[in-house]
């Protein structure tokens, strides 16, 4: 019973598909001149249960999909926790959450990170 409740809550918060919108997001980054790597599914992500991660211009990026925009917004703090002790963002865009962490100091002026949000459709 307890397990069922946990599953229900987590599914409501983090479930859903979102591949189409995530693919569109990554395509927009490419069109805008950024260089995203391949994005692969993240197993047991602390941010959501439908997350893919890669890099964009050497910045670590994770894009998570949620059932709703509210759920994406609610997961922002989990995204910031994933960012850790470095420059980063956890910005909802519709039902997606864009999380970026400049762990390699590849984006000292934040230009790439800003573009991740500005170019999002």
């Amino acid at each position: 019973m307890r397990l069922a409740l946990v599953i229900v809550v987590l599914a409501a918060a983090c479930g859903g598909g979102g591949n189409a919108s995530r693919d569109a997001l990554i395509a927009a980054w490419k069109t805008g001149g950024l260089a995203p790597s391949a994005f692969t599914a993240v197993k047991d992500s602390p941010v959501g249960n439908d997350c893919q991660a890669g890099t964009v211009n050497n910045v670590d990026v994770m894009v998570c999909s949620y059932p709703s925009a509210d759920a994406a917004k609610a997961a922002q703090d989990l995204g910031l926790k994933w960012v850790g002790d470095t420059t980063g963002i956890a910005t909802p865009k519709g039902s997606l959450l864009i999380v970026a962490a400049d762990r390699k100091k590849a984006d000292p002026k934040g230009t790439t990170i800003n573009q991740l949000v500005k170019l999002a459709p």
Binding site: V9, A74, Q76, D85, K109, T111, I113
Partner: protein, 272 residues
């Protein structure tokens, strides 16, 4: 009971926590050494310097100072002059202190903060649609009745002028008469200790910086001394005196300021 506890914990995790801010609303989380910012802002020299270009909410692991930042929904919002930090994007000239409608720049709930820079300066945003701002000579002047909060907080933030004064950068030079009602002419906003003598064209600043307690601001014939530091004085024949005012020097209304440098309100006619 245990089921309820589990649900509460999960809801807190998903919903962003239960800590409360001073105003009773939810306080933004901080993780590790994160410091929250919103909008573009300077990067400390120790972190490489220049400007951070992230416009939305973001985090760094360095602190924000009190004079140049205000709180906006738990994020630090920069209210200083970005050009002092090598910002080269669109910029808008202001003269004197003025309100900033932060929500109009970076979104969020309505939030009015205040800039206390006394002379000509830039921001990267125009004023919000506000009849209390008047544009004269391509610079914005605040001519409204300053709210009590604006006046009350001035002692805490007016020190920003001492911070900016030694910075060498190209400030806007506004050379027009300030409009009637300009806040810079109000007694509450005139920094004491600055006076202008004519026709000898001597400007002295008795606030205790510069050699022997004075700044080097004695200039004639339209020359500019100090490349953006302190006061620039342009001296046509008496009895007329015109003054270009550097950041950090408060001068009452009525000074004649000639336009030496234009800005184009984003039309990119060139700034220099």
């Amino acid at each position: 009971m245990r089921n309820t506890t589990i649900l509460i914990v999960l809801a807190a995790l998903v919903g962003g926590g239960v800590a409360l801010a001073d105003d009773g609303g939810p306080a933004p989380h901080r993780y590790g050494r994160q410091v929250r910012f919103v909008g573009i802002h300077p990067i400390p020299k120790s972190e490489g310097g220049g400007m951070c270009n992230i416009e939305g909410p973001h985090v760094h692991i360095y602190a924000a100072n009190k004079l140049e930042y205000r709180d906006h929904e738990g994020d630090h919002y920069f209210v200083g002059d970005p050009v002092a930090y090598k910002y080269d994007g669109p910029k808008y000239a202001y003269k004197g202190p003025h309100p900033i409608h932060v929500d109009a720049v970076v979104g969020g709930e309505p939030d009015t903060e205040y800039c206390y820079i006394e002379g000509p300066h830039y921001h990267y945003f125009r004023p919000a649609d506000d009849p209390d701002f008047k544009m004269v000579g391509d610079a914005y002047f605040y001519v409204g009745e300053p709210p009590h909060a604006f006046i009350e907080a001035r002692p805490a933030y007016v020190g920003i002028n001492a911070t900016y004064r030694p910075l060498v950068y190209t400030r806007p030079v506004v050379e027009v008469d300030a409009p009637t009602g300009w806040i810079g002419a109000r007694a509450e906003f005139v920094t004491p200790g600055v006076y202008v003598d004519a026709p000898g064209v001597v400007v002295e600043d008795h606030r205790g910086w510069g050699r022997h307690g004075h700044d080097e601001v004695i200039v004639g014939g339209g020359a500019v001394v100090g490349a953006g530091i302190g006061v620039t004085v342009v001296a046509p024949p008496p009895p007329s005196i015109s003054i270009g005012i550097g950041v950090g020097v408060g001068v009452g209304g009525g000074a004649v300021v000639h336009e030496r440098e234009h800005h184009d309100n984003g039309k990119h006619r060139g700034w220099r």
